[in-house]
């Protein structure tokens, strides 16, 4: 791999002042304006010139090299994730939480006044918990009563089923009912099929 230094010709006839400046500018240019790899590969070369301190010459050649090095994909992805989660996650969350803790602050404990029923969010001290309880979560009482109602409904259905099973077992034991067991029939589905078939007939002209 050729470097810029080797490609610089006529080194001995260049005034030393220009050589010094050229070296300094080369060090700068590789960081600032010119592509890194191009400098390393010697495609772009800084050559000293009496009129200008620096002259960029593109030395086009067929001998282009590929810089073989390990992949930086994982490292770059890691940096992306770190930036994302810290800039958009940790820092805004820390700022918001600090603001809330400093300028709103936790509630103080007090006795429940006579005849007053506090709302669910007034049972918690921290402002964030209070907000969540007020706007996001279901309160303890709400969930409790929902569960009670659910159990009430389920229990009713269970009792119906248990009664049905007892009756069936008794009928099977005693075999004393004159009729066969009653099988409930619903013609809901037959009616629906008939109506659909009629609608199809009207629309399409045939079944």
């Amino acid at each position: 791999m050729t470097t810029g230094k080797e490609r610089l010709g006529r080194r001995s006839s260049i005034p030393p002042k220009f050589v010094l400046i050229a070296n300094l500018l080369r060090a700068f240019a590789s960081k600032v304006n010119l592509p890194k790899n191009a400098i390393n590969q010697g495609i772009l070369v800084l050559r000293s010139n009496p009129n200008n301190a620096l002259q960029v010459v593109r030395q086009m050649s067929e001998h282009r090299t590929m810089h073989i090095k390990p992949s930086r994909w994982s490292w770059n992805r890691f940096k992306d994730f770190m930036h994302f989660y810290i800039m958009l996650g940790a820092i805004p969350a820390a700022l918001v939480i600090t603001y809330i803790n400093l300028f709103i602050g936790p509630a103080r404990l007090a006795e429940i006044p006579e005849g007053y029923v506090p709302e669910a969010h007034e049972y918690f001290p921290h402002p964030i918990t209070r907000w969540l309880t007020k706007h996001v979560h279901k309160s303890y009482q709400q969930e409790y009563e929902l569960m009670c109602h659910h159990i009430y409904e389920i229990e009713y259905e269970q009792k119906l089923r248990q009664a049905e099973n007892r009756i069936k077992r008794k009928m099977a034991e005693k075999q004393d009912t004159q009729a066969y067991y009653y099988q409930p029939v619903s013609s809901r589905y037959e009616r629906s099929i008939r109506d659909n078939a009629q609608a199809d007939l009207e629309i399409s002209g045939s079944v």
Partner: protein
């Protein structure tokens, strides 16, 4: 025995110096908090929730599942409260032990008796029931204990022979 010496009794120039150094950091921060931060906060208040007593498991019919659910929830709440009571008594006993270290057998005897009594009562009601918090299991435990006590006398006095009733 007298109380151990504290910094509030007597002081010397070294102690005063240390206190002054502490104050250089503490005074501005305390002033800022008391005069600037706290008055500008909204004065929110929170309460401790009081729950109504509902019928316990022994007052519920056997087929009343809603009553069972409410008794179970009350049992859970009572267990938490009793657990906190035991924690408080234990903490007091521990603090006494640490503070009175060489004389703890003499000075903390009452707190020790209290703690043992409270934890014994807690274990009588809630312990050895398995991982699930079932109120019916606790009720049955009470029933079995009463039967055992009827047959053999108080718990801790040993079993009588098998055919005692």
């Amino acid at each position: 025995m007298e109380d151990p010496p504290s910094l509030n009794d007597k002081s010397n120039s070294y102690v005063e110096f240390i206190k002054a150094v502490y104050r250089t950091v503490d005074r501005p921060v305390t002033w800022l908090r008391e005069k600037v931060v706290v008055p500008n906060r909204p004065d929110n208040v929170y309460y401790h929730q009081k729950f109504r007593r509902v019928p316990t498991i022994d007052e519920c019919y056997t087929d009343d599942r809603v009553c069972h659910f409410e008794a179970q929830q009350q049992f859970n709440r009572d267990k938490k409260v009793d657990g906190e009571i035991v924690q408080l008594v234990r903490q007091r006993y521990k603090e006494c032990l640490i503070a009175e270290q060489p004389d703890h057998t003499r000075k903390c005897a009452k707190l020790q008796a209290d703690f043992l009594k409270v934890s014994e009562n807690f274990c009588m009601k809630y312990a050895d029931l398995g991982p699930l918090n079932n109120v019916k299991d606790a009720y049955m435990k009470q029933k079995h204990r009463m039967l055992w006590e009827r047959r053999h006398g108080k718990v801790g006095t040993g079993m009588k022979n098998q055919d005692a009733l």
